[in-house]
């Protein structure tokens, strides 16, 4: 018998340079997942519940679900998160308080690079925008720009906010920034694929580590909703009545 397959622990998330590399990574992931299936079935006692072919089908279905991510037109927004530290935005209504330090983080190395290089430009644009929005109080102290290199592979842009209106304006800016910073979307696409792959590897590692429970596995991958039906082709011509009829008596 061949040596049992051991899953390498994933420490560093992937960074694909182009689409082919991303595809290779996806297929590697699928291969790893299928090879770890016997271990999974052994750990969770799924021998009588499901066949390995069904689980393989489930995994491939999940991957196929995201097959549309190859289409550059369907892209999510940048994963920006705004952390508001040390201040209550509501209290910022009053003049006296607040300083809320808004940290614009980007979990995205490439973005962070771009953000770094465009820092001043960004700050200047934000200032204009915020000025235009009407928050006149001295807010943007551009001192707090800290391009922090590879901490979470992102960079921080700190803004010293003094009013919640400013924060709102910042949100608007962020959305505008996306289209400014990324005229071509392929880079972003790769990041999305990498992120999904990272999530998948994380999930696979959890499952192989016995960090999940059996009913999780059964509920998500054996009986799960998106697996048996709804591949789209069979349900095309059916009316709502028939779809509801197949689902349940009480829909």
């Amino acid at each position: 018998m061949a040596a049992p397959f051991t899953l390498r622990k994933i420490g560093v998330p992937p960074n694909s340079a182009n689409l082919t590399e991303a595809r290779r990574r996806v297929f590697d992931f699928f291969r790893a997942a299928c090879r770890s299936l016997p271990t999974v079935m052994d750990i969770y006692n799924l021998q009588d519940v499901v066949a390995p072919s069904q689980l393989r089908f489930a995994i491939s279905a999940q991957i196929r679900n995201n097959a549309h991510v190859t289409d550059p037109k369907a892209l999510p927004l940048i994963s920006l998160s705004l952390w508001v530290l040390g201040g209550d935005l509501l209290r910022a209504e009053r003049r006296l308080c607040l300083r809320s330090i808004v940290i614009l983080t980007c979990f995205n190395y490439h973005l962070s690079l771009k953000v770094e290089s465009f820092t001043f430009w960004i700050v200047w644009r934000m200032k204009c925008l915020l000025y235009w929005v009407g928050s006149f109080t001295p807010l943007l102290s551009a001192k707090a720009v800290l391009p922090c290199g590879s901490f979470f592979e992102g960079s921080f842009l700190c803004f010293w906010m003094q009013s919640s209106r400013a924060l709102l304006a910042l949100f608007l800016c962020a959305f505008r920034m996306q289209s400014i910073l990324f005229p071509d979307d392929s880079l972003l696409l790769l990041q999305v694929i990498d992120l999904l792959l990272f999530k998948g590897m994380e999930e696979l590692t959890d499952i192989v580590d016995h960090a999940k429970q059996r009913h999780h596995i059964i509920g998500q991958y054996v009986v799960g909703e998106g697996l048996v039906q709804n591949t789209g082709s069979k349900d095309q011509g059916k009316s709502d009545f028939l779809k509801n009829f197949y689902t349940s008596n009480y829909v």
């Binding site: 069979k234 059916k238 009545f241 009829f245 008596n249 009480y250």
Partner: protein, 746 residues
């Protein structure tokens, strides 16, 4: 500060050492007042109510209505100072009910005769030396009745004390706990402490059958069950033996209660002496959810309340409906609920090539049926609706089969030649409550005791109340009222029709004669001749008049009236023999041997009963407790069932299955919701949409053409062999199996 504490201060020595806060609270002197020592003294000291007081208006107890048969005969009585008008024969208790005062009672029941032996209903009447039993005392004009005086209250406390003396401390293990009259009335009217220190008596339990559990120690000898059995059920099974504290209710010999109304004594008994044996120790009444729905075990449509706990039906209780079932239900209705848990179909199944059924998904099952139905010629498609089908599913089935090009869709129980053109020919035209006005009954080929127990109860009530006469043509059967057996077959009918039988004179002299024809006669080949003979009898004896229509047809199944209204009739006798595709919607009484061997049979139903074994595809449907369906009873009264529990497994509602099947087969039915189905029904039979209303037949027998056939001489056969096993649910029920093994007369 009460009188007591002040008085105690005066009595105790005023010592500073003793007088400290805690001891003040510990010592409490009991002081009595003259008013508290006897009820008469209390009555003396009560202030007179001011005269000419304007009292707030009162509603009768329970929303009851008073019917004045003779408005000039109304009497005025005063209840607690409130003037109320009552008809002449009313008792004091009924007068108090009209006035909105609910007097406690144990032995009195509005539908039974008056016994007056519990003494709980004692009220004070002016100018009477002692309190009177209000249930027995007739109300006289100008009587002043007082129900809340100390004398009345003391009387109630005393009666309660006596009742509880010999009553065992069984509340924790008694099934009646939570709905017990004794519990409720002792809380409301009893005293708070007892003083009984002797030994309580106990009584040996009686065996009344597999339905009624008896713990006779709990009996308070109210004799409600005795009066019910002799008056309403018509059987003289129960009686009171012994005297004084040694009184025991029972059957004198070791006899079981075989009456079909025996389960009603469970509702009647105010304490836990007679309880439901299948329901014993199963649930408490406060954890049950009651759903008001309709029974479908026979064509009467008795109103019931289904008590369920979660997904399980725990018991079935009757609901009040004056027109149909009053307050009673038959044993089959009451106890067949455990059949809902056995032999249930829960997944669609297809028969494999090796003959075994395999569970499949709905998609596959409907795809298979949809494929096959297109390979068959249109007149080889047959649809049969079962006896428990609701109007919505029958409508959708008929629409579907018609759109596939076939006209062969009918309901079980309607043989060839039954036409549904004139509604009077299959309904109970005098209505069930109207049977009370009849003074002569002629039963033709029907045994109402087993076919429709509530109709039989109504006939029994009429016979008892107004001494009506009953004559019967059919096989030997037992009745619980005096009945003259005229003959066994169509010959007797012919004789009466021609006027040669001695019974004709009785018919002519009757003011309101009622003829009840059983629907079992519809299956005979000489049906037309028999029915025309019946109609000629009706004609000759003035049975059908504008003010009284006594020509009644008693249907057998809950689905029959609605099916005939919707037009599900069997056109050709050979339809089943030449069928290639048979759709059985809950139809178990179909003769499976008549279906050809190469026919493809689809069975849609909720129980794996007889017809399932012949089926090729099984589609699971919901039972009557799980769906909202419209049913029409034998008198034309439309009612709706309400879902009480969720459907079992992967089952769906009947009409939804047929509608989904039609879509998969490519037939577009113009509705996809229950409202759409109902509006379709409205265009076919609008009376089925008006729930809780009775639609009488529009035309009488005058429109029927003459019949030229001759009657055969075969005598009438009984239709219902076993009262306890008539439909799929009852056949799957363990309690019904026990009853039919033990209670049927051999």
């Amino acid at each position: 500060m009460g009188v007591g504490i002040l008085a105690s201060r005066a009595i105790r020595p005023a010592s500073r050492l003793l007088r400290s806060q805690p001891s003040n609270l510990l010592i409490r002197t009991i002081v009595s007042k003259p008013e508290l020592q006897s009820p008469e003294a209390a009555a003396v000291s009560q202030p007179e109510p001011p005269k000419n007081q304007i009292l707030p208006p009162r509603n009768p107890v329970g929303g009851a209505r008073v019917h004045f048969t003779n408005p000039e005969d109304a009497i005025e009585v005063f209840v607690d100072g409130y003037a109320v008008k009552v008809p002449k024969g009313f008792t004091v208790l009924q007068a108090c009910e009209v006035a909105g005062v609910d007097i406690p009672r144990f032995c009195y029941h509005s539908r039974l005769s008056i016994a007056g032996n519990c003494r709980m209903c004692l009220v004070e009447v002016e100018k009477s030396p002692k309190p009177v039993a209000s249930c027995a005392m007739p109300a006289l004009p100008g009587m002043k009745i007082k129900t809340d005086t100390p004398i009345a209250k003391k009387a109630r406390e005393g009666v309660m004390e006596f009742l509880l003396m010999n009553h065992p401390l069984d509340c924790p293990i008694c099934d009646q706990g939570g709905e017990c009259d004794l519990q409720d009335q002792s809380m409301a009217f009893g005293s708070d402490r007892g003083r009984f220190t002797e030994m309580k008596r106990s009584v040996v339990d009686k065996n009344l059958g597999p339905l009624v559990k008896t713990v006779m120690t709990r009996c308070i000898q109210c004799t409600r069950c005795v009066r019910f059995a002799s008056e309403v059920a018509g059987v003289q099974d129960l009686g009171m033996l012994g005297r004084g504290s040694g009184e025991e209710i029972g059957t004198y010999v070791e006899k079981l209660m075989t009456s079909e109304l025996s389960g009603n004594v469970i509702d009647i008994c105010p304490v836990g002496a007679l309880t439901s044996k299948p329901f014993a120790f199963k649930a408490r009444n406060w954890e049950l959810k009651g759903t008001e729905t309709i029974d479908v075990s026979d064509a009467v449509g008795s109103n019931i309340r289904v008590d369920s706990r979660g997904p399980e039906v725990m018991r079935i209780i009757p609901r009040l409906n004056e027109d149909i079932n009053e307050e009673w239900i038959s044993d089959k209705t009451r106890f067949s609920y455990d059949g809902l848990k056995r032999q249930r179909l829960s997944d669609p199944m297809i028969r494999d090539s090796d003959g075994r059924f395999k569970a499949v998904s709905w998609r596959d099952a409907l795809a298979v049926v949809g494929d096959i139905i297109h390979q068959v010629k249109s007149d080889e498609i047959v649809g049969i609706a079962g006896q428990l089908s609701d109007a919505e599913s029958m409508m959708v089935l008929k629409d579907f089969v018609n759109r596939m090009g076939s006209d062969n869709v009918w309901c079980e129980g309607t043989a060839v030649g039954v036409d549904a053109d004139l509604r009077y020919s299959y309904l109970m035209n005098s209505s069930i409550s109207g049977l009370e006005n009849a003074d002569l009954f002629l039963l033709v080929g029907t045994q109402p005791r087993v076919e429709a127990a509530m109709v039989n109860a109504r006939i029994c009530k009429t016979v008892r109340a107004s001494n009506a006469k009953v004559a019967y043509i059919g096989p030997l059967a037992d009745f619980n009222y005096d009945c003259k057996h005229l003959g066994t077959g169509p010959d007797t009918l012919k004789e009466i029709a021609e006027g040669r039988h001695p019974f004709c004179s009785a018919l002519k002299n009757a003011k309101n004669p009622a003829i009840i024809v059983g629907a079992g006669l519809f299956n005979r080949t000489d049906k037309d001749a028999i029915l025309s003979a019946v109609e000629s009898i009706a004609q000759a004896n003035n049975v059908v008049r504008p003010d009284w229509n006594g020509l009644n047809y008693l249907l057998l199944y809950a689905a029959q009236a609605a099916a005939l209204d919707l037009g599900l009739i069997q056109q050709s006798a050979k339809a089943l023999e030449s069928a290639k595709f048979v759709y059985l919607m809950g139809a178990d009484d179909v003769d499976v041997d008549k279906i050809p061997k190469d026919a493809f049979v689809v069975y849609q139903g909720h129980h794996g009963d007889k017809a399932v074994y012949r089926a090729n595809v099984i589609l699971p449907a919901s039972a009557f407790t799980e769906k909202e369906g419209t049913y029409e009873n034998t008198e034309g009264f439309t009612q709706q069932t309400v879902p009480a529990v969720p459907t079992v497994g992967d089952a769906r509602d009947d009409w939804k299955i047929v509608r989904a099947l039609s879509e998969v087969s490519g037939v577009n039915l113009p509705y996809n919701s229950i409202e759409g189905v109902r509006s379709r029904i409205k265009s076919v039979a609008p009376n089925l949409v008006h729930t809780d209303e009775r639609e009488p037949a529009a035309f009488g027998p005058s429109l029927k053409p003459e019949c030229k056939e001759t009657m055969s001489t075969t005598p009438f056969k009984p239709v219902v062999e076993n009262f306890y096993m008539t439909n799929a649910i009852t056949r799957a029920s363990k309690i019904m199996a026990q009853c039919s093994a033990v209670l049927l007369k051999k």
